[in-house]
Amino acid sequence: MVKTVVSVDLPVDEKLTIKKNSITGTGGAPSKPASLPNTAKRFSLVTGIHGDELEGQAVCYEVQRRIAAQPQNFCGTIDIYPSLNPLGMDCITRGIPAFDLDMNRTFPGDDDGTMTEYIASKILEDIKGSDFALDIHASSVFVREVPQVRIPPQFKESTFDYAKCLNMDFVWIQRNASVQENSLVYTLNQSGTPCAVIDIGIGMNCNPSHTSQLTEGIFCLLKKLGMWNGETITPRNPICCDDPERIVEISAQHAGFFMRKALCGQRVEQGQTLGLIIDPLEGKIIEEVVSPAKGFLFTLREYPILETGSTLGRILK
């Protein structure tokens, strides 16, 4: 059943409405029998905080399609929130249009606060109490990410086992701002609702293989939560990192145009060429970018125009 999470009037004849689809299953039984102890479980699938991150859209569709095809195997409630920032998605804008704010820095919000704080507060109130919440992001348009789960270190204990079964390639106990204070994942965990972030692919894109990989992982998670009795795959055994010293950031030392010579997700050797920074004006190579370490290249530059300092990649040593 499609429900309104929060709706506010915009100035000129339009409402900003955030919706969810709430699907309840009873494992094939006509009602909720006591013999199915897990019917009360709730899983929230959340995406679209950043308006340019689209990988979660097809996942929302595919999860519902599979549940609809096998309703006898689903019990509990799944709440699907395809777009927490519908204006941003409509305007192809990462932040909240008109406010120029990153929505993932507005949580927990404030019921008596500004429009963005009010919306954040209502979203949080609605998701809170789920047995697990998954916040699906894509990368920005600048770098490509291997399919990965990110969790804040403070909440590793309550989320790590779930994160490992999501069929992702990498689980990163991450200390940077994307999972820190004012983010949805941090705030949900802080309020007692276990939550993890998916970061996958690249902005403004939706890759069918990512959809499939993550959907399989979500059904593994539902099975672990006791909400899915159908077939599932054996999830990938992800590489895990809880040590910031193992992460090597690679930045452009020169401005120019980047030509990739490696693939995101591959293992690289120290000294291996990852790409060239070229000068299209004079036809010269400005810089050969070589790997500073041996390891797993889990982030790689996609958008080719570089400033000095632009992120080129990340390696897990």
Binding site: V8, D9, L10, P11, V12, D13, R94, G95, A98, D100, L101, R105, D112, G113, T114, M115, E117, Y118, S140, F142, A177, Q180, E181, N182, E249, S251, H254, A255, G256, F257, D279, I305, L306, E307, T308, G309, S310, T311
Partner: protein, 311 residues
């Protein structure tokens, strides 16, 4: 006056990204003043430029005390000014959310790091900054609550108000917070009444406040007339937000600085299709208008006024 290069980074498709500074006097690094980080902070850039000009006059007149150095960085973000973008032109990052920065990080973090490096040894840091929402303010100083206690020094600007605030999580990536937290710099954020247009009266108030501060520290000899006995405002207790319940055209009936009584009509919100009044915003208490929203269209729940409560 000496011009120094703080950042000079080659770009590929446009001219180098340059941040310049101007130093006055030599000796103890006393006060640094940092101008705009966002491309719409015209008023802040104007104030910085006026300050450079005034300090040059003071130095040439021999009215700068020996043994002190002042640094003014008139702009941290000329790129965004030139392309009429508010934030960093390629990725929309806000430089004032990138502190303390990182020498090996992305571009905005590198800029933040270089600003921190250039200013870390100064005893006092002044950032000419703007509010994230459009609107007009009573010119004031903001300082973050910390273990450092320098409220008495804030009063030396002789601005009408000194606002003291506990930093919110996202404010821990601002220049002001990191000046204090990382380098022990006594940091002040100076708010003018305007941002994306030039208000000469308010610019003068802020420029005068900085000169009064320099005079009180005995860094300049020049007599600077005027100033106020500052009122200390604790954000959580002395200032209340007044919000719109409806969306529509915003028609204020008061101005910043007005004294109002409980029940006074402060603004109307009109339906943008038929001009009917959809909300009358009344003052909930006696006080002075400290901030006023200024866009023609207002969104429901927006803060349209901040009121300094009458004591």
């Amino acid at each position: 006056m000496n011009e120094i290069s703080i950042i000079d980074t080659p770009a590929f498709y446009r001219d180098n990204f340059r941040v310049r500074g101007y130093t006055f006097g030599s000796g103890k690094k006393s006060v640094c003043i940092v101008g705009p980080m966002r491309g719409n902070e015209f008023q802040q850039q104007f104030i910085a430029a006026r300050l450079v000009s005034r300090l040059e006059q003071i130095e040439q007149a021999g009215e700068l005390q020996e043994g002190y150095q002042i640094l003014v960085i008139p702009s941290v973000n000329p790129y965004s000014f030139n392309t009429k973008k508010r934030f960093w032109s390629i990725n929309n990052n806000d430089i004032n959310r990138a502190f303390p920065g990182n020498a090996e990080g992305n571009t905005t973090k590198r800029i933040a790091n270089q600003i921190m490096q250039a200013t870390s040894e100064y005893e006092f840091g002044i950032h000419l900054c703007s509010f994230y929402m459009s609107g007009t303010f009573m010119p004031h100083i903001k300082i973050f609550k910390s273990e450092m206690d320098y409220i008495e020094e804030a009063k030396k600007f002789k601005m009408q108000y000194v606002q003291i605030r506990t930093p919110r999580p996202f404010e821990k990536t601002t220049l002001n917070y990191n000046w204090q937290a990382k380098n022990g710099v006594k940091a002040f954020s100076l708010y003018s009444s305007a941002t994306d247009y030039i208000d000469r009266t308010s610019a003068h108030t802020v420029q005068r406040a900085i000169l009064l501060f320099l005079k009180s520290l005995n860094i300049i000899k020049t007599d600077i007339p005027g100033g106020y006995e500052s009122v200390i405002l604790n954000s959580q207790e002395d200032i209340i937000p007044i919000r719109a319940s409806a969306s529509g055209f915003f028609e204020p009936k008061v101005k910043v600085g007005f004294e109002v009584s409980a029940g006074d009509t402060l603004a109307e919100i009109h339906d943008p299709y038929n001009d009917k009044i959809v909300e009358e915003i009344k003052s909930p208490a006696d006080g002075t208008i400290f901030y006023q929203y200024s866009d023609p269209l207002v969104y429901s729940h927006s803060t349209v006024f901040n009121l300094v409560l009458k004591k």
